[in-house]
Amino acid sequence: MIPILGLAAGVLLGLFFDPTVPLWLQPYLPIAVVAALDAVFGGFRARLDGIFDAKVFVISFVSNVVVAALIVFLGDQLGVGAQLSTAVVVVLGIRIFGNAAAIRRHVFRA
C-alpha cells in the first residue's frame, strides 16, 4: 500500500510543481522512465514471489535509471545514441513484459 501511495504522491508532486528539467537532461528522461518501470515491475514481482527486499529494490532502481541514462549518453557521444536507446528500450521492454507475465500468473493463477 505504502509504495503505491508513494508513487501517487510522486506523480501528483510532479504534476503540481512542474519542475523544470535542465535542457541537457531532457533527452534521457524517457529512457530513465523505462528503466524505472523495469525496476518497479521487478520489485512488484519479487513481492508476489515473497522475496522482496527493500535494499535490493532501491539499489536496482537507482542503478537501472543511472545506467540506462549513461548508456544513452555514451551512445550520443559516439553518434549511436538512437540505436543504443532502441537497444535499451528493447531489453528493458522484454524484462518488463516478462515480469508483467509473472505478476499476471500470480494474480490470476493462469
Partner: protein, 301 residues
C-alpha cells in the same frame, strides 16, 4: 552461504545473450537476498525499508510525471507554432485580398472618371470606343456570356497505394500538368473562345501557365486540383470544334489511360473576372498625334 541461489550461478558460456534477456526477467539479487535472509542474517528495521521503498516509488512517480509533462509540452509547442504559422498565412492572405479589392475599387474609379471626361467630346468618344475594344481584347474587364466548362482533375489515389512511401513511382502520371492545361486552353482559343479563365484566373494576353514544383501557376498565382477551365463563346461551335481538335482527343485518351478526370459541360451563363493588367516592360504605346493613349496620365482632347 552454502546453498547456491537460483539464477545466481554464473551462466554457462553457451547461453546466448537473448536467452539471458528472456529468461532472467527478475533481478537475481532478490533471490540472493532472500537466501541470505533464510540463512539467518539479521533483518534490518522494517520501517526504514518501507520508507526507502516509498521514497523510491515517489521518485519513480515524479520521473514519470515530469517526462509526461515534457512530452506534452513539446507537442503543445509544436501545435502552437503550427497555429501561429496558419494565423500568419490567414492574416497575410486577407491583407492581400484587401489590397486586391482596393485595387479593383480604385481602377473602377479611374475608369469611370476617365469615361466621364472622354464622353464629353466627340474625339473622346472615339477614343473611348477604341479603349473599350482594347480592354476587351486584353481581358481587362469582367465579361459574361454562355460558354463551355472543361474540368481536368488528378487521378484519384489508388486504394491500395501507400500514401507515404509508395507514391514515388506513380508520381506525375496521374497528375494534371501545365502542358495539359495549356493544351486545353489553346484548343479552346482555336475553337473560337473569346475569354478563358482557369479556376477563376482570367487569362490575359500575357498570362503564363507554368509548373512550379507540384503546383500549377496561372499568372504566377497557384491554382489547385480540380482545374475548371471556363471559356466564353458560342457553346455549340465551341464544343464541336473543341472536341474535333486532335490534341483534345489525344488528351482524352491519355486521361482515360492514367485515370485523370476530363469532362466538359455547356453553360448558359458564365462570368469571368478581369485579368490583372499586364505590365509592359519594354513595349511603349505608340502615340499618334492628337490622340490620347490609354496609359497617358494627361488625356488630351
Amino acid at each position: 552461504m552454502t546453498s547456491t541461489p537460483r539464477g545466481g550461478a554464473p551462466r554457462s558460456l553457451g547461453a546466448s545473450l537473448l536467452d539471458a534477456v528472456l529468461a532472467e526477467t527478475l533481478d537475481p539479487a532478490y533471490a540472493q537476498a532472500a537466501a541470505a535472509r533464510a540463512a539467518g542474517r539479521p533483518e534490518r528495521p522494517r520501517w526504514r525499508g518501507r520508507a526507502l521503498v516509498a521514497l523510491t516509488m515517489s521518485i519513480a512517480g515524479l520521473l514519470m510525471a515530469v517526462t509526461y509533462d515534457q512530452a506534452a509540452a513539446g507537442a503543445e509547442g509544436r501545435e502552437q507554432v503550427r497555429e501561429a504559422l496558419i494565423g500568419d498565412i490567414d492574416r497575410e492572405s486577407s491583407v492581400s485580398d484587401d489590397l486586391q479589392d482596393q485595387l479593383q475599387d480604385l481602377s473602377q474609379e479611374v475608369t469611370s472618371t476617365r469615361d466621364e471626361l472622354l464622353a464629353a467630346s466627340a474625339v473622346g468618344q472615339d477614343a473611348l470606343d477604341d479603349l473599350d475594344r482594347a480592354e476587351q481584347g486584353s481581358a481587362a474587364v469582367r465579361v459574361t456570356g454562355p460558354g463551355l466548362l472543361v474540368t481536368l482533375a488528378n487521378a484519384d489515389p489508388k486504394a491500395d497505394e501507400d500514401p507515404v512511401g509508395g507514391a514515388t513511382e506513380d508520381d506525375g502520371r496521374g497528375r494534371v500538368r501545365d502542358g495539359d492545361l495549356q493544351l486545353v486552353v489553346n484548343a479552346l482559343w482555336s475553337a473560337g473562345a473569346e475569354a478563358v479563365s482557369i479556376n477563376g484566373q482570367r487569362l490575359g494576353p500575357l498570362t503564363a501557365i507554368r509548373f512550379a514544383g507540384e503546383a500549377v501557376l496561372v499568372d504566377f498565382k497557384p491554382v489547385t486540383n480540380p482545374y475548371e477551365i471556363t471559356a466564353i463563346g458560342d457553346p455549340d461551335t465551341l464544343a464541336g470544334r473543341f472536341l474535333a481538335s486532335p490534341e483534345v482527343n489525344a488528351l482524352a485518351v491519355i486521361s482515360e489511360t492514367y485515370g485523370l478526370r476530363f469532362d466538359y459541360a455547356r453553360k448558359d451563363e458564365l462570368t469571368l473576372p478581369a485579368a490583372s493588367t499586364p505590365e509592359l516592360r519594354i513595349a511603349v504605346p505608340e502615340v499618334p498625334a492628337g490622340d490620347a493613349p490609354a496609359t497617358d496620365p494627361t488625356p488630351g482632347g
